[in-house]
């Protein structure tokens, strides 16, 4: 589903964000991406949805080669992904349902299809009762659920979440994390960046740790104990 091969990424200002990053993620996986602030987690996320291109190396996502993706193919790739951020990125002047519907309108879907799908994902994230609420009327955890529902509404093959629990309290974090697990259990690949170490330890999911732009640990390859040794 996802394959990074010897990926280097430097930003125009010269900052080297990624150094020789190689890993692959297969169908059905749930992967946690960890590392200190500035380690390059968000940069990897941006490569996955083609907001950035690798400086060298190869990035393949769901059959698309991000390295050489044409501009007009980027929307096609993004419709196969669900993208979730720490800051939710909801539109304040639209209700929860409208925010979710927005992702389908953009693809030119039919109105009745949109309504049916929006109702389905709202139920899936447990917010059917709040479909008409505006973002400011929702708690942080609820807003993130709306954002996840929006990410799901296109039936994505892969869900990319950059610190989705970053601003949430413990309860809301657990709720959102559980939601992502359910989504993964239903067959969607989930890639989640986080620096919540408790979450990483509790979950028995594959963990990739970055330091200064390099992969220093990948639980799929290393001994589990190496996590502790590495710190």
């Amino acid at each position: 589903m996802i394959r990074l091969t010897h990926v280097d990424k430097s930003y125009p200002n010269g900052a080297l964000a990624l150094r020789d990053v190689t890993f692959r993620i297969s169908r059905g996986e749930f992967v946690l991406l960890t590392g200190h602030s500035g380690a390059g987690k968000s940069t990897i996320m941006k490569l996955l949805f083609a907001e950035q291109r690798p400086t060298s190396g190869e990035v393949r996502v769901s059959g698309y080669d991000v390295t050489s993706l044409r501009r007009d193919e980027i929307p096609k790739l993004r419709r196969r992904l669900g993208i979730v951020f720490q800051d939710f990125r909801l539109l304040d002047d639209r209700t929860a349902a409208e925010n979710i519907a927005f992702a389908l309108e953009v693809t030119g879907a039919r109105r009745d299809t949109i309504n049916a799908r929006v109702a389905r994902v709202l139920a899936q994230v447990g917010l059917s009762a709040k479909s008409r609420a505006h973002p400011r009327e929702l708690s942080g955890g609820e807003q993130q659920r709306v954002a996840i529902a929006r990410a799901l509404v296109n039936d994505p093959a892969i869900l990319v979440a950059d610190e989705p629990t970053g601003t949430l309290d413990e309860r809301a974090t657990r709720g959102v994390f559980q939601l992502l697990r359910d989504i993964n259990a239903a067959g969607t690949v989930v890639v989640m960046a986080t620096h919540d170490l408790d979450l990483v330890r509790q979950a028995r999911y594959r963990t990739i740790e970055l330091r200064d732009g390099s992969v220093v640990y990948d639980s799929a390859e290393d001994e589990p104990d190496a996590v502790e040794a590495g710190r």
């Binding site: 949805f49 501009r71 007009d72 929307p75 096609k76 790739l77 993004r78 419709r79 993208i83 990125r89 539109l91 927005f102 992702a103 309108e105 953009v106 693809t107 030119g108 929006r150 296109n154």
Partner: protein
């Protein structure tokens, strides 16, 4: 499509002042073009009327016997291009000058000797009233030995033609200047809207909106403003036309307004102007959002 229209209309609510300004500048741009266009088509119309009066006048040498002239007029009347021929004697010419040229009445009254020559005035048949035929007839009139000089109205017809061209060019230049201003204002409006909606657009991008989908509403917005500007200019032109026609109290009673096809062309031009302004601006600024 419904979404697109809704988005386009929303822009008027988002930036009412700038939107109105865009429409008005397009309106004025086309109004200027239209006004000069009106002058041009009315001049052309006037020229067409003048053409009917295309006359060839042969001035006769002093002292030519009347019989010679009578014979010649019969000859000339038989030309296939000629409608009728009138012989104007020296006395008739003077009388006419006194009657018609009020400014010189005194000058003509005090004259001891009549300075005006007799002439043969030739009117051409419909269909022959063009400069080329007039020139041909004039050439043949010159062939009579008692003819001193031949004139026909080519000079001032050409001058009027020239005037019409100048009017057209002046109108075009001013109109295009306005058009440039309109394009810039539309660009600024769209830039502002783009900045206002930067967040929305970045989210659209994330959920997989194509560039054309994002651009669509802006282009539609520009086209819509162009359309409104086009209609506004027609309204203004018509107002100006009525004003001119009524004020002139009959002098310009025969003024004409645009043909429907010309009106449609003005509106279409407005739409293209709006589309162009938004296309340039969106192309330039969408990258930075």
């Amino acid at each position: 499509m419904r979404l697109l229209t809704r988005e386009a209309l929303l822009s008027f609510r988002r930036a009412p002042l700038l939107s109105t300004l865009s429409v008005t500048t397009i309106g004025f741009s086309l109004f200027t073009l239209g006004l000069f266009g009106l002058v041009a088509i009315n001049l052309r119309e006037a020229l067409r009327g003048l053409e009917e009066r295309v006359e060839v006048v042969a001035f006769v040498l002093r002292g030519t016997p009347a019989e010679t002239i009578t014979l010649a007029t019969q000859d000339i009347a038989a030309f296939p291009e000629v409608e009728d021929v009138v012989y104007v004697t020296e006395e008739q010419a003077l009388a006419r000058a006194r009657r018609e040229l009020v400014e010189f009445r005194d000058a003509y009254r005090d004259l001891q000797v009549n300075p005006l020559p007799a002439s043969i005035e030739v009117r051409l048949k419909a269909g022959y009233r063009d400069a080329a035929t007039a020139a041909r007839v004039a050439e043949r009139l010159r062939g009579f030995e008692f003819v001193e000089d031949v004139r026909f109205g080519r000079d001032w017809v050409q001058k009027l033609d020239h005037l019409r061209n100048i009017t057209g060019i002046v109108g075009l230049v001013i109109g295009l200047a306005f058009a440039a201003v309109a394009v810039v204002i539309i660009g600024v409006t769209i830039r502002l809207t783009l900045l206002q909606r930067a967040r929305e657009i970045s989210i659209m991008r994330l959920v997989g909106a194509t560039n054309w989908f994002i651009r669509g509403p802006f282009l539609l917005e520009g086209a819509l403003k162009g359309l409104m500007g086009g209609f506004l200019s027609l309204l203004l032109c018509y107002g100006g036309y009525l004003l001119f026609r009524d004020r002139s109290g009959g002098t310009f009673g025969g003024l004409i307004f645009f043909h429907p096809v010309q009106m449609a062309a003005i509106v279409v031009f407005g739409v293209l102007l709006g589309l162009f302004g938004s296309l340039v601006s969106v192309g330039r600024h969408l990258r930075h959002v």
